[in-house]
Each structure stands twice: as structure tokens, then as C-alpha cells.
Symmetry: C2
């Protein structure tokens, strides 16, 4: 981090009565006009959103008419927005999506990794098999991008390269939706070989407010984002997988909240009914910190989240014998910020 001052502690990890570890980070909650109702830590420094913006990267899939042309199902749209676990249901959706475009697994540029689902990994291992590109958690996003390329008559080969017209289009959409200019110097390459552009958390939060509400988007784009969200609410297991955070949140909180996590401790959310968007990044990249911090903010803004995310909010840490050895808890700075956020939104300061 270039800045002199450290971001505040968002999450403490206790063992016994002592803090054993902690996670610092920053959180922005914004409306579609860029008014921040929460800005904790450095929300101006650009961060790589990674897979947290997959739903934004999927906008052209609907906006260009590709989804209609290929008659995509809710599950196929949802898997294009998702970081899936590689379960059978995910592979079926990605295969179907690819087949509809006339392409196949060989066209995916995402590379292969063992499925996030332990059960699927075990099944592969029992059969003496290795993971394929379709098992990559990003294969749905890649299949969705290929569908756009085919629909627009672009050469699908090299669709993942930063200078391919498809990635240039996606970069423009990201820039317009988040209301910032993307600096080519702030481009990194993601785990699945696609470009990932660093953006301030404040811009990401604004972008998710627009994504959720359609405010400040063209009518066509607003319809596209609504269609993508509806698909994810209709098929939440396609966005992540059995037992995973985003699937639990989408299932329990949709249509009040759309959440999507990314690597290195990034998590974003749209809260359409409140007119808000949220983006957070844990400095050290820990998923446990991101999911815990997000749960706290959601529980402050949406009463239902207290029960939907109850297990996350209890934060119990158990050892190999099942003994309760510790717990995760909101850090003091986050607790204070949540108090202020609760007051602000109760007072009607949260725009709709």
C-alpha cells in the first residue's frame, strides 16, 4: 500500500479471549449519484475488483441481444455472472451455453483448476481424472463472453486479450457504469487470464448502485442489469455453489441484495430497494475477512440478513475435534461505522 496511514481493522479473529489475527480494509457504500453513505478506510485508492464485477462484465451478454438470440436460460445467465464450484449443475449450464453458441470447451481461455466443490474434486479423483477448463470457477463468465463475440461476429479466438474488441467493449461498460476513466496502466491480468482494471472502492460502490437500480444507466443497460440480477436471484446456486456465501446471500436476501465476491478479499453488493451499492476490500486478501465484514454491513442495512447470515455473524471457529476455540468479530472501527450507518439510514439519509 502506498498510503502512509493503515486502513482500519474491520474484523478481529479471536482465539480464547485474545485477538489472534485481524483483517484491515476499506468499505464504501454509495448511491447511484456517488454520494457515500459509508466510507471506512481508503475508498479512493484503486483496487482490482477481480471476480466481484463478473455481473458487470456480463452486461453485454444481455445488452447486445446475445442472450435473446441464443435463448439463454436464467441458469445460463447466472453462471455467466458467477464464480461457480464446478458442481454438475454448473458444468451443465456452461456446456449448454457453449453449445448454443456453436463453440466448445476447447475455446475457453480460462485454464483449469480443481473444482471449488470438494465433492466434485473427490468424484474426479475417484475416477482418476484431472480438472478441465470447464471446472474453472470462471468458465461461465468465459462462455458468456464467447457468446457475445459470436453474436457480434467477432473472432472468438483471443477474446480474453486486453486489445480484443470484446474486452475493449467490456472496459468501456465498466467505466461508464462505475463513472470513472479506466487507466490502462492500472490493468492487471486475472487468474483466468482476462484483464482486471483497478478502480476505487467508491466508484465500484457507485457502479453497483447503478447496476441494482438502473439509475444513470441507459434504458437498455438498465434492462440488461435487471435481467442479470433476476437470473441470479432465480438461480442462486449457479452464481457460486452449495454452502457458499453468495449462494446463501442471493437465496435468502434476493431481490433485496445482490452480492458477488472476488479473489483477494474483494466483495461487492447491490441493494436495489435502498438505492445503494457496496464495495469492500480486505488489505491482506482474506476471504474470511471480506465475508464477515460484508455480513455486518448487510445486517445493518437489511434486518433479514441477521437470520440469513446468522452462521457467518456468529463466526464460531471450531477445531478438528469440533471444540469451539475462537470466533470472528467486527473490529471496533467497523462497529463504530455501522452505528453511524444505522443512524444515517434510519434518519432517511439513505437515498432511494
Amino acid at each position: 500500500m502506498e498510503s502512509e496511514s493503515a486502513n482500519p481493522i474491520l474484523v478481529d479473529v479471536f482465539r480464547g479471549s485474545r485477538v489472534e489475527s485481524c483483517h484491515r480494509g476499506a468499505i464504501a457504500v454509495s448511491d447511484a449519484q456517488g454520494r457515500l453513505v459509508l466510507a471506512l478506510g481508503d475508498v479512493a485508492r484503486p483496487i482490482y475488483p477481480r471476480s466481484a464485477v463478473k455481473a458487470l462484465q456480463a452486461i453485454p451478454l444481455v445488452e447486445t441481444g446475445a442472450a435473446d438470440a441464443f435463448d439463454l436460460t436464467a441458469g445460463e445467465l447466472a453462471v455467466a455472472c458467477g464464480s461457480h464450484s464446478g458442481e454438475r449443475v454448473h458444468l451443465d449450464a456452461v456446456e449448454s451455453l457453449l453449445t448454443k453458441t456453436g463453440l466448445g470447451e476447447r475455446d475457453l481461455a480460462c485454464g483449469a483448476h480443481w473444482p471449488l466443490s470438494e465433492a466434485t474434486t473427490r468424484t474426479l479423483l475417484r475416477g482418476g481424472r484431472r480438472p478441465r477448463p470447464i471446472h474453472n470457477n470462471c468458465s461461465g463468465k468465459h462462455a458468456g463472453m464467447l457468446a457475445v463475440a459470436v453474436h457480434l461476429g467477432l473472432d472468438p479466438h483471443g477474446y480474453e486479450k486486453p486489445d480484443h474488441p470484446l474486452q475493449i467493449m467490456i472496459g468501456r461498460i465498466l467505466s461508464e457504469t462505475c463513472g470513472v476513466t479506466l487507466d490502462p496502466a492500472s490493468m492487471g491480468i486475472d487468474g483466468c487470464s482476462l484483464p482486471t482494471f483497478a478502480l476505487p472502492l467508491s466508484a465500484l460502490a457507485q457502479g453497483f448502485a447503478r447496476f441494482g437500480t438502473g439509475t444513470r444507466l441507459t434504458p437498455e443497460r438498465g434492462r440488461a442489469t435487471q435481467a442479470l440480477m433476476r437470473a441470479c436471484f432465480a438461480a442462486p446456486v449457479l452464481v457460486a455453489g452449495d454452502g457458499r456465501f453468495d449462494t446463501i446471500a442471493l437465496r435468502g436476501l434476493g431481490p433485496s441484495a445482490f452480492t458477488k465476491g472476488g479473489a483477494e478479499g474483494v466483495h461487492c453488493a447491490a441493494l436495489p430497494e435502498l438505492g445503494l451499492g457496496l464495495a469492500l476490500k480486505i488489505d491482506d486478501g482474506a476471504k474470511r475477512g471480506a465475508e464477515r465484514a460484508l455480513s455486518e454491513v448487510l445486517a445493518t442495512l437489511l434486518p433479514k440478513a441477521r437470520s440469513v447470515l446468522a452462521s457467518e455473524l456468529r463466526g464460531e471457529l471450531r477445531n478438528w475435534q469440533g471444540l469451539l476455540v475462537g470466533r470472528m468479530a467486527a473490529g471496533e472501527a467497523l462497529q463504530d461505522a455501522l452505528g453511524a450507518l444505522a443512524n444515517a439510514t434510519r434518519a432517511g439519509a439513505a437515498p432511494r
Copy 2:
């Protein structure tokens, strides 16, 4: 963390040209008298050392005469100091150790988890089997403790409880070796159900200086720590496993350095020839941060470490397609501290 000021950034994680994530933490390097030659960050705050002190917890195995009485091999002593990967070689050593004491796997209180070794996990899965307590990375430590209990005529049942005479003895040895009083209120329960006592990094570093040199230990204890280190240098694969940091470091740097990592970003080391001990903790618990920071300190103190830990020091991050997408690097504060440490030790300030 209770303290107001944040620990410095020890390790930066770059993606492209930008820092994506970072790891803060603290490092202490001390001689056996407690003189600190490096104190970066808060080295006075107690931290849970977790598995990093397994070799200290194994002292009574030699000191009480149990190792001689049961005619333990170097491999059996090494696995008692280790966090093993559950490979065949580890299971053989733990089984042999248990058999020599007349006990068995049913007596292990560590619980079961999938082996750290992917290859062993795959073998289990192919056979439709589940992990057993012997696959737990701590099973060697537990078997070693059981050997002490049997040798001393203590009831092995409940050997893992904080009030069992064995754990009271180990707590005393830890306290004497590190030169601090253990506060019962600072006790946590480890992943394997044993007590873990929070200690300042400065005390841990001093303890490892004494462990490595025998200075300020009784002659019997000094002989015990030498025997344990010799065993680990003779059988480095038993301390961790194929391809893991501590096995690479022990194999390449022994007898100049003994290293041992623990959960939640703790790593300790003894540098017997320099008369120094080292202890570090990454605030957020990340192993990648701990191993990178330790590599930097070792490379500063031991020229040979530059080649032995070359891959760690390059810190290349590659994605699923094998593309180089980023790198890990020492943070500015660590770089500055290493410069000062190099000057101090070159100037002969490091005591022998």
C-alpha cells in the same frame, strides 16, 4: 489488535504494476540473553505461537529419557517436532512411535483432517477412504507427548488437557526456555486440541536462540535441544513434507538454520552458528506472508539462503494458464530493517 498503531507492511503482493494486497506483521531477532538485533513492529504483544513451537514442546521427549528408553529414531523425533503432510513416510514414523510406546492411533486426541499432501489425499479418495487422526499434521507431536506420558508412568488419557501433568510440564519448559511467565489467561486451544500459550515475539526469539545454542539452558536441556535439531536436520522431510517450506529450509540450510512454521502466519527459527533466534507473526495470519518475510530475513543473515530459498524470494505469482501475473516483494519497512540488520551483523554486533 489492541494497540493504536498498526504493524508495518512486511510483504507486498503485486498484480501487474500495482500492489493488490499486503501483509503487516512483526519480527523479532534476539540472542539467548534477550538482546534484540531486530525488532520490527510490536514484538512485545503476546501472540499464539501455534505449531511453530512444536520442537520446544518436544523437549521433554528427550529430556525425560523417553526417546532413549523407546529407542526412537531421528525420523521419529523429527515427526514429533513436525507439522507433517500425511505422506506414507510420516504415517510410518508416527505408527512406529506409537507402537514403541505400546499405544495406538485410538489414543491420539488431535482429531482428523485431510492430509496436507494432495497426493495422499488423492490416494485416500481413490480408495473411498476418509482421513484418520494419524493424517492430522500434528499426530507426530501427539505421539511424542504420549511417549513421555507412558515413560513417566502418567495416565495417557487426557494428555492433551491443560491440567494434565504433561501439559503443565511442557508449559514450564516453554516458560523457562523463552524466559517469560506464562499467563493462564493467555491460553488458547490449538487446532489439535492442545493448549497454546500467547508469548511476545521477543520472548519466542530469545527462546529459539537458547534452543539453538543451549545458552542459558541446563546442560540436560541443551543436550535435548541439540538432539532434536540434529534429528530434524537428518530427516527434514519428516518435519513438514515434500515441497514445503520447512523441509526445503532444513534440507538446504541445516545445521545453520532450524525453521518451523505455525498456523495463522507464525514462523520461528534458530540460527545456532549466529547465536540468534527469530520469531515473526503476520497480523492477518497469511502463510504466504510469513514464509516470504522469513525468507528475506534468512537471506540477510545466511548468504546460502539466497539460493536455497531462491524460488520463495523470486515470489512469482502465476495464473491458471501459467502466465506471470504478479509477484510478492518485501515491503519498504522490511527492506529498511533488513538493511540495518545486515549492517549490524556485518559490524559484528550479532553476538555469538
